[in-house]
Amino acid sequence: MPTIKDKAAIVGIGVTDFSKDSKRTQIHLACECILAAIKEAGLKVEDIDGMVKHTGDGADECRILRSIGGRNLNYYGECRYGTGGSSSLVLRAVMGVAAGVANNVVVYWTANDSSKRVELTYHVGMYMLSTSEAEQLSFYPPVGLITPEGQIGLIIRRYMHEFGVKDNQFGWVPVVCRENAAKNPAAIFYKQPITIDDYLKSDMIVDPIRALDCHTKIDGGMAMVVTTAERAKSLKQKPVYIMAAAQSAVQGVEMMTSYNRPVISGLPETSNVGKELFRVAGVTPKDINVAQIDDSYAPLVPMQLEELGFCKRGEGPAFCDKGSNIRLGGKLPLNTSGGSLGEGYLYNMNHIVEAVRQMRGTAVNQVKNAELALVSGGAGGPASGLILRR
C-alpha cells in the first residue's frame, strides 16, 4: 500500500521574532514569515500554489495572496486543534504535493497571543458555536473549569495518582527547556535559565500545574515551504525529507477534556500518532536522535514519551529525572530550541522549525550527527506528529 514516506521535503523556513508585543498585525506577521520562507527556498512568490493554515488564524490565505501578490492557489486547507494542528498542516501539505495537486505549498502559523492583538476569521467567530465547543462550554465553565490549565490538570492529577509521581519529577522538563532557550538568541527566555528549586518555588496556578509548567504566549509567526522530494533537490537549501506525518483523534476525544474514557491518565492520540509515524517511516524509537515534544504543559512531555514508545508506561517522569536523558548530549535531547516553555508558544510550529534546523545542521543547540528528528504535538487532544530526516 503506498504511503507518503519521503514523497515530500521542507525546503524553506521563514520566521519573525518572538516577542511580547509584535507591534504588527497577524497578517503582517504572516506576510513577513511567508515571504522569508519563499526567499530562503530560492523560490518566487508566483511559484507558490498552495497554502495551509490553522482554522483560527486571523491571517487567511486569500488575504495573504492579495498582500504578497501571489498568482493562484490550487490547494488550500486548514486544520484545528492547537498544537495538534501544526504537524497536521504539514501532512496536508505533503498530501497536496504528493498527489500532484500543488507544486509548492506554504505552511504557516501566526499568533498575537501575548499582545492579544488577535484577528478573528469568520471561522473563529463560528468556532464557539461548533458542536464540540458547545459541549465543552456547557459543562465546564459554569463550575469554574475555564482555562486549559485546569482542564489538563484533571488528567495530569489522575496520571500522578496512578503512577505515584512526586512533585519535583515534572520539573526537569522546564529546567532543560529553559537551559536550551538560554542559549538561543531567538528564544523569549534567552539567557534566563532556571533551576529545579526555581521550579519548586514557582506558584501553583491550578494545583497541580505550576507557573513554570506552563507555556509562554508570544507574538510571532513561522512559515515553511513544502514541495516534492524530486523538486527539492534542485532548490537552494539542503532538503529535509518528511519520512512520515500523522494525525489522530481517538473515540472519546475532547480538546483537553477527555474525561469520559475508561482511563484518562494517558494520551491515546499521541500513541496512535507514534504507531503510525514509525510504521510509515519504517524506523523505531531507538533510531530517533532528537525529539521536539509538545511542552505546552510540562507534565505532558513524559506522558508523550511513554505513548511514543521512548520509555515504558509510567516511566516517563523517571526518564526525565535530573534531565540527564533529555538535555543536550543525553540519550534523547528534547526541545533543543527551548520549546513552548522556553522559546515561546507557537502551537508546536517552532518545534517543527527546530527539527528542520537540526536536520540541516544549523540549529543553535545542534545535536551532533542527528539524522532523524521526531515532532509530537497535540498532547491532551487530537494529536499529530512528524518524522524528518536529512
Binding site: 507591534k23 503582517h28 506576510c31 513577513e32 501578490g69
Partner: protein
C-alpha cells in the same frame, strides 16, 4: 439628498488595526489617502502589510486627489437587505479613483436612479458621530477622471 440614518441605531464602526490606522486618521481629518509602496510606487488599497507588486514592507500614506468615477453601484430598496441604520432607498457605489484603486462608499445629493457607471465624482467627508467620519462622493462637474497606475 444625503444618505439618511435612523436615529438611535448605531452604525458599525470600521475595524481599525495597525495596518489601516493611517487611512482612518486621515479620513477623520477630512483627507483621503492611499497606501503607496515606497519602493515601487504602486498604490495599494485596501491597506496591506506589504506591496503585492514588489513585496516591500516600506510604505507611505500618499494623498489622493479625491477624484474618480463610478465603477459600479447597487441601489438598496428593500429594508430587510439594507443596513438597519440606513434608510432605504440608498445606493452603495464602487468608485474607481484616479490613482487606480477603488473604494466602496455612498453618493450624496443624488437620487439613486440618477447614478450611472462612469459618472465623475469627487470626495466629500461626513462627520456622522464624534468617533465616526466617513468619506462620501458627490457628482463632480467637468473633465472625466483619468485612470492612474494601479
Amino acid at each position: 439628498m444625503a444618505v439618511e440614518y435612523f436615529k438611535g441605531i448605531p452604525l458599525i464602526r470600521p475595524l481599525i488595526d495597525l495596518d489601516n490606522q493611517g487611512f482612518w486618521e486621515a479620513v477623520k481629518n477630512h483627507k483621503l489617502v492611499i497606501q503607496r509602496c515606497k519602493d515601487c510606487g504602486t498604490y495599494v488599497h485596501p491597506p496591506r502589510p506589504c506591496c503585492p507588486n514588489c513585496n516591500s514592507f516600506k510604505k507611505v500614506w500618499a494623498p489622493a486627489s479625491g477624484k474618480g468615477e463610478i465603477y459600479s453601484y447597487v441601489n438598496i430598496t428593500y429594508e430587510k437587505v439594507g443596513y438597519p441604520g440606513m434608510m432605504c432607498p440608498h445606493a452603495v457605489v464602487l468608485v474607481e479613483l484616479e490613482e487606480g484603486t477603488r473604494l466602496i462608499t455612498n453618493v450624496v445629493d443624488m437620487k439613486p436612479e440618477d447614478i450611472y457607471i462612469g459618472m465623475p465624482v469627487e470626495v466629500v467627508f461626513e462627520d456622522i458621530a464624534p468617533d465616526l467620519t466617513l468619506y462620501k462622493f458627490k457628482k463632480s462637474k467637468g473633465v472625466k477622471a483619468k485612470k492612474g497606475k494601479r
